[in-house]
Symmetry: C2
Subunit: 426 residues, 2 copies
């Protein structure tokens, strides 16, 4: 098989990139392949499905803010049911944490992020199920749990259906004539000399090389450009040819709860029109809760860092003990309604973390284009990342993001990278 | 065993760091361990042993320039025979390459790098054995080899004995009372909660963690601070606890030639007092030659990039075919005296490449300090890197480099990193 552009990976990045590439020039013969049987089956559909424009780096803000607009457009004008719920994002801090982050919050306000800061008393009224003050409890002090002193509430934030989003991009891409081929696993990148001499041993070190496609379990695919957009699996293709994916895979687990006992947790006042618990991050250990309104459940995740290993796992699983004998100890102090409640469901996915600046990477080599290192927020930036990857392919200096704002393509690259460090990382 | 500071790795970075840590506070109980039987046996002693202060990033220039001064001081005032030969560094460019690099060369001059630019005619006179112009040769044009149009010659550059350098740092460190233990391989980092509760399952996600030492093949070593300075092996310790080494290992091979036929190549005029071939980089494929004056030989390396894989190899070997059926084709065009000459010796080591900005990384986590990602120029920056790692340990904002120049420690870190991209990479 031969094509103009081969996109490896039918997750959010691959399909958004394929769509924007095809939209710009429908005459391009574009093929998306994925080793799974359908779109988003790698890590996209395992996502917690949160979105927020509340980032301290201007780049991340712009990527997410415009992508969120694009998603609402897709839902409201194009008829896709993405289950977008703008219930907000509540980032809880202790006094010390807040003082450290305060300049970044001011910076976000200047950038245009709509946010409100609440104090402990206000938070207690708005989220009645939340315990905010442990200062009189010696047992809890011993655990080292942090008080809830402040909450930074982002308005243009909430929940979406990642699976539906990926399928929407796939549908739009196919409408334009794009091809998708599932159950097709790329196993090896082809590297060839730009000018072949026909001498054994090519490519030689002194020859200019170009990526010319991939081997797959269904045979070779030749492509003028190969787009690597397969998330945590990118390194399995890039490492063997000595190109860097600038990311390491790390497992993240999610637990879902549907129990009358935890229903009070979901009820809030004054934060959103649904009166629902926004996506809420506790001040300890990056524990994240999300109301899943359509199924009436709470999803729970945790941004564990050290000593959670970097390792590519083919089929990562949630560990039951990780909830019952780990997160639970802290969680039940903040939300006592969790007492003795067990998850009804759990699953795990992998973050592709660029821990240098916690931001995505998009670069080009001869015959190859890489879009990856989503660092846990690739889905909510998915529209912008596809546009930027497409702009890089077409040699444009600036990408036009949804709504018309411009983005300098090289800012997400390697050699002229220009990203402020991101302080709001989960 | 217990100590204040455990340094994992007795290569240049580990021993320089240990020396500067101990020098600052001789009361510290410091232990250096290495899995090999002596210092520098990982990749330090496999190095090509070049040094240069000719870097386009101000940071890299400062790190190398002060380290070179320190090395000369060690040789001239402290009695170490480091075989320092300041024969210079000649970076050869085609017209196109030169035009691209010209602004960076101007920048280097402004920074204070002593360099001279020579044109093709001058180069032909100074390095008589070098072919500079292939424009009339169709066969060579077919190979895609680039003309030698310009040479950028750095003066404060040359050759050193990396093995001797590592041993000098070891000797100075031991003189101060520092301990070294060889044949001791760190196998696992210990992560413990800062405040232990004695509950099964610790450390929990909600606990503050600290690195407390390592397991080794000779038992556990407890340390208040563990310094990871083991080059390409760093990821075997850091990945399992989810910390990033910000580097990928890549094999680099060296070939040594001692043959009367290649002696003319080593003779030059007007470049250095020895009348010897400086370290010379050809304009194609990053082929590097170095006169090894003490043994009267030429060393040859090649900075192969795509498709040389990223992979940690325990004992990388040079591939004979890599010289005879690869580099040779191009090499013999530039230096016809190589015709039919075979290497008398060859070996291989691994670069720990940070391909984001081609510069080292030094950061601290609770109980851990990482110094690594030398990116192929860690040895020539070795003194400065040890000083900066030591300054980070002692909580100093600025490190004082050899000669008194200051360096902002956070510039080599992750979260407030401040490095200009390096354009002179081999």
């Amino acid at each position: 098989m031969e094509c103009d552009i081969l996109v490896v990976g039918a997750g959010i990045m691959g399909l958004s990139t394929a769509y924007h590439l095809k939209k710009k020039d429908p005459s391009k013969n574009i093929v998306v392949i994925d080793k799974y049987a359908g779109p988003g089956q790698g890590n996209s559909a395992k996502s917690e499905g949160g979105f927020r424009n509340m980032f301290t780096s201007s780049t991340n803000y712009l990527l997410a803010d415009t992508s969120i607009d694009a998603f609402f457009h897709m839902q409201e004008k194009m008829g896709y049911e993405l289950k977008l719920e703008d219930i907000g994002y509540m980032w809880l801090f202790s006094e010390d944490q807040y003082k450290e982050i305060e300049p970044a919050i001011d910076h976000m306000r200047e950038e245009g992020v709509e946010l409100t800061v609440y104090n402990q008393e206000q938070l207690g009224e708005m989220i009645p199920a939340l315990m905010t003050d442990f200062s009189d409890d010696e047992e809890i002090e011993l655990l080292g749990l942090k008080n809830v002193d402040y909450g930074v509430f982002g308005k243009k934030c909430g929940s979406l259906d990642a699976d539906a989003l990926v399928r929407a991009y796939e549908a739009e891409y196919i409408k334009l004539g794009g091809k998708v081929q599932y159950n097709t696993e790329a196993t090896k990148l082809h590297v060839q000399p730009e000018m072949e001499l026909g001498i054994p041993g090519e490519p030689f070190v002194w020859q200019k090389k170009v990526i010319t496609g991939v081997d797959t379990n269904k045979g070779e695919i030749k492509a003028e450009t190969t787009v690597i957009a397969c998330g945590v699996w990118a390194s399995t293709l890039l490492d063997p040819v000595g190109l860097d994916s600038y990311m390491r895979p790390k497992k993240r687990q999610l637990f879902a709860f549907k129990d009358p006992k935890v229903e009070p947790i979901m009820r809030t006042t004054g934060l959103n029109k649904e009166g629902a618990l926004p996506l809420t991050i506790l001040p300890t250990a990056g524990i994240l809760l999300k109301s899943e309104l359509t199924e009436g459940s709470i999803w729970l995740g945790c941004a564990d860092w050290i000593p959670r290993k970097f390792e590519l796992e083919e089929d990562p699983q949630a560990e039951e003990d990780y909830y019952t004998n780990n997160i639970y100890h802290a969680l039940v102090m903040y939300f006592p309604d969790f007492e003795d409640v067990r998850p009804m469901n759990s699953w795990a996915g992998q973050y592709a973390i660029n821990s240098f600046d916690e931001s995505p990477v998009i670069y080009k080599e001869e015959g190859l284009l890489y879009v990856g290192a989503g660092s846990g927020s690739g889905i909510m930036k998915g529209d912008a990342l596809g546009r930027i990857a497409s702009a890089l392919y077409y040699g444009e200096e600036d990408a036009e993001l949804y709504g018309g704002r411009k983005f300098r393509v090289a800012d997400l690259g390697v050699h002229h990278r220009n990203i402020e460090p991101e302080k709001f990382v989960i």
